[in-house]
Amino acid sequence: MALINYRKAINDALAEEIMRDENVFIIGEEVAEYNGAYKVTEGLWKRFGDKRLVDAPISEAGFIGLGVGASMLGLRPVIELMFWSFAFVAYDQIVNNAGCVRYMSGGLINCPIVIRGPANGGTNVGATHSHTPENILANVPGVKVVAPATAYDAKGLMKSAIRDNDPVFVMENTLLYGEQWEVPEEEYLIPLGSADVKREGTDISLIAHGRSVLIALAAADILAAEHNINAEVVDLRSIRPLDEDAIVQSVRKTHRAVLVDENKPFCGVSAQIASMLQEKAFDDLDAPIGRVNTLDAPAIYSPPVEKLQLPNAQRVVSKALTVCA
């Protein structure tokens, strides 16, 4: 298998789906001629032209609404948000139009739209540019949210997202775009709603999504090497639909859990998982579930301090040690 990076994996997924289905097209700021602010769409405009790659003005509400309308008539728009943080100027279009139009029409209208882009902190771009809205979006019944942690998952989930007939929001990560993983040459899909055990273990479950999975894996290495604790790492991959079975199964085995999650803590994804686990695995839990989130303040700019604000392996290890104590 070839080693390719997360950016290229997404780029390939987009190219393959554009070729596969004439209704697939990409709209966003700087996605065409400029090749994407983070180069995720590199080369696609050259290959597929103006119809399939469309540079938009800085009007997120306008072009996301446009995408919703176009999807109602059968197109399959893939909208790039330069940052998911910019979703907030388009929030009504996302929640009320993409999220509710099927329901309000009694199922007469489908909205096969994909909105994708990076949703992460860690690049010192400050409070307004570092939001991770997967929790608040997954709050909305009617939408789907995925957060791939590897190039392999990113490609497979992106292709499923584009083929899905419901609105799917893909949370990428600028810190992962350059990271490499093995990705098969042959076509594959990863279904929404299926978690992935990224590391088998017996003593504690580290449950995470997005880049936090890599932090959990690093923490698992430290726990194994330094503390003789064999941690299992469960990657949610998909936030909504959620593979609850996989999560519960892991905790039934390990009896302990730490949830790692870049959301701000109040009502973060890990709050939902903790809440679910205490209900469904109450008798299996030997200790309270621990959570590791971004420290609860707006994203600080200062580069060395922002590092401390985000979840990191050391904090996961400490929390795991408390939970295992």
Binding site: V54, G62, F63, G65, G69, L75, G107, L108, I109, P241
Partner: protein
């Protein structure tokens, strides 16, 4: 307001000259149907048979009927929450509409949408949207899809005079012009947004539609009480969309007789009784059209009256239909949320979609 009903130019416009008597009568019938449907709905609302809002279109019927009469196979319609008129004008049945108001499973949206959310995609009718101006980029997207698919069509996107002050409308205008999208924004200027008069909500020089100028979009502003006028002026925009793939903004002066919604307790506070009376007496689109047809010898008083009676009867029957229809069940709450779940696809069956337990 001066009456334009007997403006000779618009009656003589090509699009109107070729109308058959049948077609002209159909416009009258359609307007009666809207009015009667809503009068009956209002009665039922006051009897407590429905919930939520009920925004009546009465007084504005000519706008929906006149503009929609121009549309062909690839032309589409989307509007705001004051959507009953457009729904009936595109050909939806009173039954499905009334049942929707009653919250019944037989409603056009299975009782899930209510008054603000009528839909009929099979009739190119995309709702019915409750968030002010929220539909404006959707209309743009429908028109975008037509162009993408190489179809010669357009989308009429209706909105109120208060809706022009939502930012997304402006974003939509810029994109429409920049990308040559065949969308036609129709501002139904009934002079009030809830209790706020046009002058208290919008800054403008001569008209709201003039804002289109800044985007290099063609615009027009005209009176909506006469169907000939509406058709003549709107056809120019439809041609522009069909032939040049260019957008338009049309501001059509009109008036609503009732309050903003039935819940609007102030309906008579922010405007004078005379103002309302003047519209009803001198500018009512039904009266004006009926008079025109009688003068043209297309119809007589009695036949017109019969059309009205038929409409009333149809509305009464629709109430019966609605009353006899079942409500959705509790289980229905979870249908129509996800396509993949409803259709039991692989995607719909994997993972948890609903978090009730």
């Amino acid at each position: 307001m001066q009456s334009v009903a007997d403006s000779p130019t618009s009656a003589a416009a090509e699009i109107n000259r070729n109308l058959t008597a049948e077609q002209k009568i159909a416009f009258l019938r359609d307007m009666f149907r809207i009015r009667r449907f809503e009068q009956v709905a209002l009665k039922c609302y006051n009897q407590g048979k429905m919930g939520g809002f009920l925004h009546l279109y009465i007084g504005q019927e000519s706008v929906a009927v006149g503009t929609i009469s121009l549309l062909g196979e690839n032309d589409h319609v989307i509007t705001a929450y004051r959507d009953h008129g457009h729904a009936l004008a595109v050909g939806m049945s009173m039954n499905e509409c009334m049942a929707e108001l009653f919250g019944k499973a037989t409603g056009c949206s299975k009782g899930k949408g209510g008054s603000m959310h009528f839909f009929a995609p099979d009739k190119n009718y995309w709702g019915g949207h409750g968030i002010v101006a929220g539909q404006t980029p959707l209309g743009l997207g429908l028109a975008y899809a037509l162009k993408y698919k190489g179809l010669r069509g357009c989308c009429l996107c209706y909105m109120g005079d208060g809706a022009v002050n939502q930012g997304v409308f402006h974003e939509s205008l810029n994109i429409a012009s920049l990308w040559d999208i065949p969308v036609i924004y129709i501002i139904e200027n009934n002079q009030y947004s809830m209790g706020t008069s046009l002058e208290r909500s919008s800054a403008f020089k001569n008209s709201l539609s003039e804002r289109a100028e800044g985007y290099n979009i063609a615009w027009d502003s005209f009176n909506g009480e006469d169907i000939y006028e509406i058709r003549a002026k709107t056809q120019i925009a439809v041609d522009r969309a069909h032939n040049e793939s260019r957008p338009s903004v049309l501001e059509i002066a009109t008036y609503r007789y009732y309050g903003h919604s039935v819940a609007d307790a102030n309906a008579k506070k922010y405007r004078s009784a005379q103002e309302i009376e003047d519209y009803k007496t001198n500018h009512d689109p039904l009266r004006i059209w009926q008079k025109t047809l009688i003068e043209e010898g297309v119809i007589d008083e009695a036949t017109a009256h019969q059309l009205d009676l038929d409409a009333k009867h149809e509305a009464d029957e629709a109430v019966k239909f609605a009353e006899e229809s079942p409500f959705p069940t509790e289980a229905d709450i979870f249908k129509d949320v996800y396509y993949e779940v409803d259709n039991e696809t692989g995607s719909g069956k994997r993972g948890k979609h609903f978090f009730n337990d």
